[in-house]
């Protein structure tokens, strides 16, 4: 049987070879769906270590991107043995890079960390119009909306998106978090968001606080 603690630590260490050899060995042993679910959870716990090390400035953004890549590889390898066993989602987030902005690296980092933490993430992609956010919120009724952007024009688009949520009568049904290079406390207030972050791990903690 796979040693889940070793796996968790290997994910925390971003040790690709150890992670993949442990998981390949596990998958080859023809495990049950329940066991596979425990392996997924062990990987998720490893991602929490990665998040902590990022907050302590041991890891940086490049390491988070690599971690997201490793996690995707690991989950894809486990999928065939997961069977129908689904995990309980802790909450749902609609996320996108706002209108006029094509930058998606920060959004993707946050997305993979939120998924690893058990959120259902609906990623609308880049250059997302206020109406596209509104439509998705109507459709999936998430608890949280995450808006991302790198350019200063993103601030204006974020504001327009919050206005559109207000006009659709949806603003009070969701928490709004904004993230990316140009956001700060003043921008957050002006946009009418509930929270802001320039740090994916910190943003995830905010979201976890909202759904706990």
């Amino acid at each position: 049987m796979i040693d889940l603690k070793v796996l968790t630590q290997a994910v925390g260490d971003l040790d690709e070879q150890v992670i993949l050899s442990l998981i390949n060995e596990f998958v080859a042993s023809n495990p049950s769906g329940e066991d596979a679910q425990m392996v997924v959870q062990a990987c998720q716990q490893g991602m929490a270590i990665v998040g902590d090390l990022f907050e302590k400035n041991v890891y940086y953004v490049g390491d988070l991107i690599f971690a997201g890549d490793l996690l995707t590889q690991a989950i894809n390898a486990i999928k065939p043995v997961l069977g129908g066993v689904g995990s309980q989602k802790v909450g749902s987030i609609v996320i996108g890079t706002v209108q006029g902005d094509l930058h998606d690296i920060g959004k993707n980092i946050f997305s993979s960390m939120a998924e690893a933490a058990g959120f259902e993430v609906y990623d609308l992609g880049i250059d997302v119009s206020p109406s596209a956010f509104v439509e998705k919120v109507k459709e999936v009724k998430p608890q949280i909306i995450g808006m991302s952007g790198v350019l200063t024009l993103a601030i204006d688009s974020m504001k327009k998106t919050v206005n559109a949520l207000n006009e659709a009568g949806l603003r009070d049904s969701v928490k709004v978090i904004i993230g990316g290079n140009p956001v700060n406390e003043d921008a957050c207030k002006q946009i009418g968001a509930d929270s802001f972050t320039t740090n994916a791990a910190e943003g995830l903690k905010t979201c976890q606080g909202w759904v706990s």
């Binding site: 006029g100 350019l151 200063t152 700060n184 921008a187």
Partner: protein
Amino acid sequence: MTDAVAMTNERNQMFSDLFSGKTPKRVPVSNPATQDFAIQYAGLDLAECQWDLTKLEPVYDKFCQDFFTDTYPGGSIRLPSHYQILGSTPIVMSSSGFMQHPDVVGMLAEEYDEFIASPYDCIVETILPRLFTELNGAPGKVAMALAKAMRAQSDDLAYLGTIRAKMNAKYGFATMSAALTEAPFDFMADFLRSFKGISGDVRRHPDKIAAACEAVLPLMIKKGTLPNPSMLGYTFIPLHMAPYLRDKDFLTLYWPTFKKMVETLAGMGQTVQLFVEQDWMRYIDYLYELPENTIMRFEYGDAKVVKEKLGKKHIISGFYPVTLLQTGTKQQCVDKAKELLDILAPGGRYWWQADKSIINLEANGPVVENLRAVLEYVHENGAY
């Protein structure tokens, strides 16, 4: 007209003094707003004007007249015509009309050895056809696409150059030239391996990144060389990836070839301007090692610490937060300008620029008034 010529001479003298480490007459000022902003300020459509440059002369005239600046506020501009003709994927226009750079892969991880053996051949034969769809096909078609694109670009640049010359003649801006290049590691990340790709490479094959940076260094130096190194101007190097790396990866993969590049350019007698993007405070002692009078425009960080550590050797710029212009009152914006002036101006070696470019103008927002007030404030209070 003579007044404008005199102003140009005076401003050229200010920048000559600044770049050679002498205290200029006053703190030089550059408007951080760009052509994109200017088009919106004139009430015109951003996408349309970038396709039809004939609309731009009155746009620039109003822009230059209404906002104080010592340098022509053209900024670095990505023109859509030649990118479109080439089928560009690394530089594209968004729905807002702003040209930008998505995360693309121009080179696969397994192509490092080919690249290291001959970067130029690999770029021409393998990477360009992947990044630009019209450069991937029969040689005749590729030749036609390339010829059309280069003609379109040269026509566009000539047209913008004419506008620039007219504005310089009318408003007496400093006449500086600029070349653009990237640190080898940033070039590998931004156009060849992508942010995601290089982040994996740092873990999986760091030796190959180091060798690739060494291999591409001569091309990056060539790209950053001015036609005449002694002319008034600078090589602009926007720095990208260092804040996203661990210190040890920065030290072994990013820093060696970047440092060599800046030293080589400075050794040729040119000034180098770094856009120190994101937060470089943990690398400040490395920055100190760069040649005297290297210009460093900072985005984030502690202005006091930077002035103290680098301010006697290098030329400091940036730090002014343009988002404040969007969210603050006029008084708050001016107070911030004063605060930075008080920290950075004493002893010279300070060029007023903002932390980022202003590319967007929200109708009815406070940016126009705030920006104008800040530029005037620094102009009027920056005398030595």
